[in-house]
Symmetry: C2
Subunit: 244 residues, 2 copies
Amino acid sequence: MSPLTPAELEQRIRAVGAERYHDKHPFHRLLHTGQLDKGQVQAWALNRYCYQAAVPRKDAALLSRTADRELRREWVRRILDHDGGGAEEGGIERWLALTDGLGLDRAYVTSMAGALPATRFAVEAYVAFVRERSLAEAVASSLTELFAPSIHRERIAGLLESYDFIDDTVMAYFRRRLTQATRDADFALDYVKRHAASRELQELCVDAVRFKCDVLWAQLDALHHAYVTPGRVPPGAFRPERTC
Amino acid sequence: MSPLTPAELEQRIRAVGAERYHDKHPFHRLLHTGQLDKGQVQAWALNRYCYQAAVPRKDAALLSRTADRELRREWVRRILDHDGGGAEEGGIERWLALTDGLGLDRAYVTSMAGALPATRFAVEAYVAFVRERSLAEAVASSLTELFAPSIHRERIAGLLESYDFIDDTVMAYFRRRLTQATRDADFALDYVKRHAASRELQELCVDAVRFKCDVLWAQLDALHHAYVTPGRVPPGAFRPERTC
């Protein structure tokens, strides 16, 4: 098979998002349209914390694998964006402002003791993917960020409108990601288009986006299963107080 | 904290099984009491294949980490039991006899293309655990086999009685595991009791059993979510034919 043109490759990648990105998951529809109670939103926020907390490890794994200083200089910004530094508090801190605002104990959230095992398995699969696959695939697996701005805009509007226990101050995470994710995704897409030269590697990069969509979708499946139908929370996981 | 006696450690480990082993999962209740249709049993069998297929890699990871030849001589039997050799067909082949009997295409099953991403994430979390944690924890994570014989007995009786598309010839896997799992679990329990000397390591070994229960439970949660309520199969995963 002959290589795709860069434009064709981009089209293939965007088609994966159109089919599989987690904006299509029913749990997000429930979340964004005010159909969850506070305990269910807490469950979402504390599980999603595991993902946030793993992202800098994932990005560090990518940095550790490349001798390309230009790539490292660009990619290290993702670690700084998440972990913060200097006057910048960072995305993880902004996520904890959200879980604080939801009334969750910070030590409990950061311990991840109440997170669903399935969340941890999915998140660690992502870290392992970036550590083990080719550099082009590792970069490509970040490309779900191409599809993120619309879900973030929908989420900001939907959460603020729908839940009286969420106010504007705790939404800083999503606002900041609107610009960060766009900048990062543009760079990563350009990198993949320039470096995935063979058809084989191009197909692997498309698969990497599909894999990452699976990682995100599986997290919502696990939340949906555990917290939408009563009585399905697995042993040891967070149980919302019924008074919420 | 002072170390537990070996008997206390065994008691703690067995208590994890009593609380968290997947014989308590509602999906197993449905499976064993004839409440699933053929497509749902197919989904279970082809997802569980991913676990079977990963077990020899997990055991090889353990072998690769120890200079203790006696441990290797004992543990290598698990690889032979699963992969087969000589006249012994092995557990994976016996599992494929089950999926054959259920009318699934063997190439489709072994490709794992239709397996739930959550299944693969859970299974690979188990392989990674054995590769990364201490040897005592790696051995301890196998100890869910202490609890397996009763579920296998229940499964043999329940599946044969409940489903006209399952006959005795395809149940060989479970019959063989009745004796194998008991022998393996006895050895592993003895190993953990002898080698986990500090209280800290003992607690980590109890946690390892808990982790492994989570790995098994998460696989059933994913099956339950995708295949019990209609319309929840994630993108790309196996879809039973409605004629089943």
